[in-house]
């Protein structure tokens, strides 16, 4: 940053969060299906859920308050605690 100007940016460097480990196999995995309340997201997740179960996964359904807001921390904690992976139905 130049000493001449005041930056409008927050220039603090924040370390990137590492990606969670990828699943080697979905058989036996606990997979959360996240409905963000976008139109027809539920239909998409219904189909994904069938396929996952056929592949031997255990599924659970979670829902965001509204698609346009970040997920509540409690919901994120819940998913992280009881699931090995999450599938999010992102947009219509």
């Amino acid at each position: 940053m130049s000493a001449d100007y005041v930056s409008p940016f927050d220039e603090r460097v924040r370390p990137a969060e590492p990606l969670a480990p990828r699943l080697a196999d979905i058989s036996g995995a606990r997979i959360a299906l996240l409905d963000i309340r976008k139109n027809r997201g539920k239909e998409f997740l219904d189909r994904i859920e069938l396929l996952l179960r056929e592949a031997g996964a255990t599924t659970s359904r979670v829902t965001k308050e509204i698609f346009s807001k970040p997920a509540a921390l409690g919901l994120i904690d819940q998913v992280a605690t009881v699931s090995d992976a999450v599938v999010e139905a992102l947009a219509d």
């Binding site: 001449d4 100007y5 005041v6 930056s7 409008p8 940016f9 927050d10 308050e65 807001k69």
Partner: protein, 512 residues
């Protein structure tokens, strides 16, 4: 007495704005020449140019050309000369300032007189009124005509600054570098812009904007990138936007409202919708800082309206990281995303102003933020009853958001022009009556709404069930603004699906 020098004037290695090369021969063609070596950041140079400038035209008519030779890039030289009303020639010399070096400059300003034969006839260093007067008299003698001399006003003498030619070349280049470029272009290079030129947020300007507020004070994190909105950064955005310091309390109130989680700025900032943030200002601050709620209230022409709205948007896009094409994913966007601020014309309005409706006192200054779409103009010059006018206004909103998306739960903002407002005033209609009438008249059977995009509500309804455009009269927000003549009101459709509440914040005179 100016020191005399019997030497030939070295040739000039400079560039100017004209096509003709600037040479000693050309400058002394009609008599003799005065060369003023200056730099843009030297106060004594500025004073010298200011003091000699008014005499230039007379001197040049008598045969004494006057050329300011800057130790700066040409665009900086031209801008400085224009700012100082310097009417003489303007030239720029490149690094490492060989022309200054060949004239053995130690400091600027240095004024050199060159006679008709191209010989140095005298020189003066710094601002030295008696010596400069003598130098000009010498020029008059050479030309055979008396010349006006600079008046003997204080200060008579003032030293200048070190010439860049007297510095080590590497140091000179480093000194020249920060000011060397065009600072407005530099803002684009840094990405500190919304696509329009901005005012560079120098430390001095930001300090003035803060007006004594704690620069480290924080308003919270700005989504979506969660940059921290320190007051210093908010002030930097206000400077960039072109705000006066007197606008800053309004900008801060708008930022506080935007960062209230109930407003859901996060969703509005990243959505593919064209969501803009309408800043409505009520109360005494409108008139104190010159906000426009009258003619052209939604358009161009007023600094306060345009820059306050822009400052908020710059905070969202720069501090918050919502740059279009990056985290801002708007498919089309809209001009309201550049900045959108309006003052309600409370004096013309027949109704309670928005902030009073929302629980504030009339004497309080309040900013209210509403997430909304671009304005749609509604012409009505023919209605003769309040019912007809209310019908026209309401039905104009029928296609906002989407033609068959009924009902809307989010607010639609109607900006009622004074002539339309007068009709409701004369008929004795309250704001609530108008709101309920509008709510009641825009309805369609579900079957007519089942084409293309529509709502689950319409799908689930009986085909003959009558569906209103809004879920409640409360979704209709009414403001009064605009010029006294012309029957054009406007409606701003909502940002649907954002879960965004309308949020108001009082304007605090002492920002914190």
């Amino acid at each position: 007495m100016p020191a005399s020098s019997p030497h030939q004037a070295p040739e000039l290695i400079v560039s100017g704005v004209g096509q003709q090369e600037i040479t000693i021969t050309r400058l002394v063609r009609d008599g003799c020449a005065l060369l003023l070596f200056v730099s843009h950041d030297c106060p004594t140079c500025a004073m010298t140019l200011r003091n000699l400038g008014p005499l230039c035209d007379g001197w040049q008519r008598a045969g004494l050309t006057c050329t300011a030779i800057f130790e700066d890039p040409l665009e900086v030289a031209v801008r400085t000369a224009r700012r100082l009303s310097w009417p003489g020639g303007v030239a720029s010399q490149p690094q490492p300032f060989g022309t200054s070096r060949s004239y053995s400059l130690v400091s600027v300003p240095t004024t050199v007189l060159v006679d008709g034969a191209g010989m140095i006839a005298g020189r003066v260093t710094g601002w030295d009124q008696p010596a400069l007067a003598e130098l000009v008299r010498s020029a008059g003698s050479l030309l055979g005509t008396p010349l006006a001399v600079p008046p003997a006003t204080e200060p008579l003498r003032k030293p200048g600054c070190m010439s860049r030619a007297a510095l080590d070349p590497e140091l000179a280049a480093a000194v020249a570098a920060p000011a060397g470029g065009d600072e407005l272009e530099e803002m684009f290079e840094r990405g500190w812009t919304d696509g329009l030129p901005v005012v560079p947020p120098t430390a001095e300007r930001v300090e003035a904007m803060l007006g004594g507020a704690d620069p480290a004070g924080s308003l919270g994190l700005v989504p979506p990138a969660m940059g921290e909105a320190t007051l210093e950064r908010v002030a930097a955005c206000a400077v960039l936007a072109g705000c006066r310091p007197s606008y800053f309390p309004v900008v801060v109130a708008a930022a506080k409202a935007a960062l209230d989680p109930a407003f859901n700025l996060h969703g509005q900032a990243v959505t593919t919708q064209p969501a803009g943030q309408l800043v409505v200002v009520n109360g005494p601050v409108r008139n104190e800082i010159g906000l426009n709620g009258g003619m052209g209230a939604l358009g161009p022409g007023n600094r306060a309206n345009l820059t306050i709205g822009r400052a908020l948007r710059l905070l969202v896009s720069l501090t918050g990281g919502a740059m279009p094409g990056a985290l801002d994913r708007a498919t089309l966007g809209q001009m309201g995303k550049v900045g959108f601020c309006v003052a309600e014309d409370e004096e013309i309005s027949p109704w309670q102003p928005l902030h009073v409706e929302r629980g504030f006192e009339p004497g309080q200054s309040v900013v209210t933020l509403i997430g909304c779409d671009a304005p749609l103009s509604i012409s009505d010059h023919r209605s003769r009853t309040p019912e007809d006018l209310a019908y026209v206004l309401a039905w104009a909103a029928a296609s906002t958001w989407s033609t068959n998306w009924w009902p809307l739960a989010e607010p639609s903002v109607f900006i009622i022009c004074p002539e339309h407002a007068r009709m409701f005033r004369e008929a004795g209609w309250t704001k609530q009556r108008l709101r309920e009438f509008m709510f009641g008249c825009v309805r369609k059977p579900a079957r007519e709404l089942r084409r293309g995009e529509t709502t689950p509500f319409v799908h689930a309804a009986d085909p003959d069930e009558v569906i209103p455009k809004w879920t409640s009269p409360d979704a209709i927000v009414l403001l009064v603004a605009g010029g006294e003549a012309g029957r054009y009101s406007a409606v701003l459709g909502p940002c649907t699906g954002m879960g965004s509440a309308i949020v108001s914040r009082e304007v605090q005179r002492r920002v914190s």
